[in-house]
């Protein structure tokens, strides 16, 4: 099972079927599996902030949700996390393609990519950075458990070292 399949399995293990995303070429390795799987509903949002709102609405009616985005999009969703998710306590896992690391070619991605973790820390939200798929099953399962125990969003950051995808 590769890293993308592992994510899909974890979402199912944690009864998380509403997946809201803004497309990203590397995360597409996961979202294309999700799109093909009738267990899930995959919803494209026009902006990452909107994706958070949609995910919260789903959770509020009892259907667990997760979001997928690029780190640039995380920048677009900070106030949704701060003023909706945190006060309401919504366990939304965020799968983030983390730009700005080794191999990055685009200066426009560096500042925001590097700011994801510090911002999550400032918001008091947990985060994990995945650079290889060793122990990924345990780590993902543990992250979901933490997410629901804490009833707050958390970030699962997927790096180019992990997905080897084209950075775009």
């Amino acid at each position: 099972m590769n890293w993308a399949e592992q994510i899909v399995k974890t979402l199912k293990d944690w009864d998380t079927s509403m997946i809201v995303y803004v497309p990203d070429i590397s995360i597409d390795q996961v979202t294309s599996l999700i799109e093909a799987d009738p267990y899930f509903r995959l919803v494209p949002a026009t902006r990452e902030e909107e994706a958070i709102g949609i995910a919260v609405g789903s959770y509020a009616t009892g259907r667990n949700a997760a979001v997928f985005m690029q780190s640039s999009g995380f920048g677009n969703s900070v106030n949704a996390l701060a003023s909706l998710c945190i006060p309401s306590r919504t366990p939304i896992p965020m799968f983030i393609n983390l730009r700005g690391g080794p191999g990055e070619f685009n200066i426009a991605q560096v500042a925001m990519g590097r700011a994801v973790i510090p911002i999550m820390d400032q918001l008091g939200l947990p985060h994990f950075v995945l650079e290889d798929d060793g122990k990924m099953d345990k780590l993902l399962d543990g992250a979901m458990k933490l997410c629901h125990a804490n009833r707050q969003p958390l970030a699962i950051c997927l790096t180019q070292m992990l997905h080897g995808g084209k950075i775009a």
Binding site: R41, E50, I52, G53, S58, A60, T61, S83, L84, R89
Partner: protein
């Protein structure tokens, strides 16, 4: 038409249906009009009211009502496109359009200078749209929307801004908790 009167009307017609309300007076007035567990008040995240409602509408078969504002929707017009794309049959969006940002000093909003949110909705593929400016027309529009099996429905309700009622209790965690418990049976001892 005043937003509070419109809110009372929608609440009466909604029955048991969940309602999501925009931050500020939209939520305050919904609380004053009739607090219930299925009112999902919002207190921040301006712009996301109808996105939250969209998420609800896709996750459940129940009728979902969004009481949004023009300033809020203008911040997140992309969600109108998402509603038009996903076409949830069970979603009714009511936009309280006072053509201003009321609470920040009454500055004229873009709907006061030519932006027509009903036309935006039409352009996003939402076909059941109306603009109303009195209670009678609002009642007809909302009744029709809730009775129809074929949403989404998008109703722009032109309102006159009035004085503000007292701020409702600001308790987002309880709001979500109460609301979600109307969908998910809480565990009981012995489970």
């Amino acid at each position: 038409m005043r937003r509070f009167e419109g809110t009372q009307l929608v609440l009466r017609l909604a029955g048991d249906s969940p309602i999501v309300s925009n931050l500020g007076p939209s939520s305050d007035e919904l609380w004053h009009a009739g607090h219930r567990d299925r009112n999902f008040y919002t207190y921040g995240n301006m712009g996301l009211c109808s996105s939250i409602a969209l998420g609800m509408a896709m996750a459940t078969d129940e009728q979902i009502i969004s009481l949004d504002g023009d300033g809020s929707l203008l911040m997140n017009m992309g969600t109108i496109a998402s509603i038009g794309r996903e076409k949830p049959k069970n979603l009714t969006v009511v936009v309280w359009d006072n053509e201003q940002w009321g609470q920040t000093g009454g500055q004229t909003s873009h709907t006061g200078t030519g932006t027509d949110l009903e036309q935006v909705a039409q352009s996003c593929g939402i076909t059941n749209t109306k603009t109303v400016s009195d209670l009678e027309d609002l009642e007809a529009a909302v009744s029709e929307a809730l009775a129809s099996p074929d949403g989404p429905n998008f109703i722009v309700a032109k309102i006159e801004e009035a004085g503000y009622m007292s701020v409702a209790p600001v308790e987002p965690e309880f709001t979500l908790y109460r609301f979600r418990n109307t969908f998910v049976e809480p565990r009981q001892p012995g489970d």
